[in-house]
Symmetry: C2
Subunit: 328 residues, 2 copies
Amino acid sequence: MPPERLADLGEFGLLARIRALVGSSYLGDDAAVLPRTAGMELLATVDAQVDGVHFLRERMIPQQVGRRAIAVNVSDIAAMGGLPRFALVSLLLPADLSVAWIEALYDGIRQETVRWEMQVTGGNISGTPGPLTLDVTVLGEVETGCALTRRGARPGDPLFVTGDLGRAAVGLHLLRRGESGSLVDAYCTPVPRVGEGRALLRSRLVHAAMDLSDGLGSDLYRLCEESQVGAVIEVAALPISDAVRVAAATVGLDPVGLALFGGEDFELVVAAASNDAGTLQRVVAEVGTPLTVIGEVRPAGEGVTVHLPDGSKRPLAGGWDHFPGAHA
Amino acid sequence: MPPERLADLGEFGLLARIRALVGSSYLGDDAAVLPRTAGMELLATVDAQVDGVHFLRERMIPQQVGRRAIAVNVSDIAAMGGLPRFALVSLLLPADLSVAWIEALYDGIRQETVRWEMQVTGGNISGTPGPLTLDVTVLGEVETGCALTRRGARPGDPLFVTGDLGRAAVGLHLLRRGESGSLVDAYCTPVPRVGEGRALLRSRLVHAAMDLSDGLGSDLYRLCEESQVGAVIEVAALPISDAVRVAAATVGLDPVGLALFGGEDFELVVAAASNDAGTLQRVVAEVGTPLTVIGEVRPAGEGVTVHLPDGSKRPLAGGWDHFPGAHA
């Protein structure tokens, strides 16, 4: 028997299946009515995942595609120090998808929302002649007036990152070669730093924070722009695991380039006063994650630069190719 | 000089332009922090508009495309009796779009959000090899515990609709022929029934409500399913304007078919007690909109049927083709 196709089931039939998967109130009304928590204000973020641009349907199982689309949005809430609460999932479905595939996709969405104690409270399903696209809105909550933002980094602040860098970027290269393992998982199903963001918020010591989606190289620019400061990154201080170095060598790439420009790591970058560095490292370590100093906030006039291990200093530009010497 | 292309400007350059258009805090952080109003709970809805499926880029100006994407989501908030407050706009952009076109699109988004006193508080921009797609999330507010829902229609309730039906469906046919005018506008830039929804909510008399996006024929099914009731529609009572009848004749279509199955009218369908019909019609008329009785809620066992002017009764099915006799 051929696999059941979307066209056989129809939109209403698919909705009935999805409601059974993610909970019966899903899509029962024109809009979701969402409860509020006293003392908390609302956080809202949206991010689209397009097949071939942000994920690889041919290389990933549908559960991974669904989990990833939720996780990258949860990461934005984590970067603000908030708790994710609700997801609205808008799907653009090409006609060739089987119903079983779409149900497995929703199973991934369900898994990831359950993991973060979230509810899928709404969504939309539409056909498209284009690629499979998941556009997810995540709503979260944060103590009123306490959200971490990109504004507030001050010259002299050390810059920190959670975890280590370059895992997802090298994982994507391995995925394209058909490999599997923890680095591939880092790309397919990133783990947003929710507990770390909460610990940072509770410390009340953070000057500025954001998550690393496009890569430290471009994301740090945005933080500096919002804070109206410059920054210097110490390449020798970047947390790059031996696993990333070995895998990067396998695929013929520079691990420092992956760490700076690979993107998709969904770690947090944080600025705080140097006196508070030890305290911050301790509260994040209690969540189980190292917090590494990778550089310093500088006055705006100094721009955003990188200190190379040989002592030279270069402006941080949009891509590794702007650093020809560093390839050596 | 050739028009400026997205590829020339880059994502950050485009974001800077958009921030200038819709307000400086747009996309400044990983998530938007949204203020709350005491006594109100949150409403959330998402809807995607895909070029060629939900709008026609080649026939519409970009301002219309932007306004429409906001309006169809505002309609979902209106159907719940709420006030729209915030929009998050996720754009999937094909590479061939000019920057000027995208800016005009955002100008339409700005116009429609200003009209409803909303703020564009977030969004996302992504390239796509597929068609232009606008995925919009609208957040609204409603007095706690007061939202209008699809549940609660009771056998014996009259069924009402705001305004008149078939305008958008015949307008789409005229648009495809390159025509213009108020019926084409009804399709391109529908006017969500926000004031009407608020008046209905304040009356505290509504048993169930929803907006008509897919058309009365399929939307009424959903309302009946949620309320666990049946319904009968009196075809002779459907509010169809002379303009729609004339235009339908021009394009060779049955105006009743357009009114029942055309969709996109974004009128509200409402169930309430028959004793309250006069009061409801008065409070909605005060907003400037007629409220017409088009049928009655019936017990679930009777299904959803249509009373034709010749006295015959037929089950309401998914499309007008299921009513061969009615074409006569």
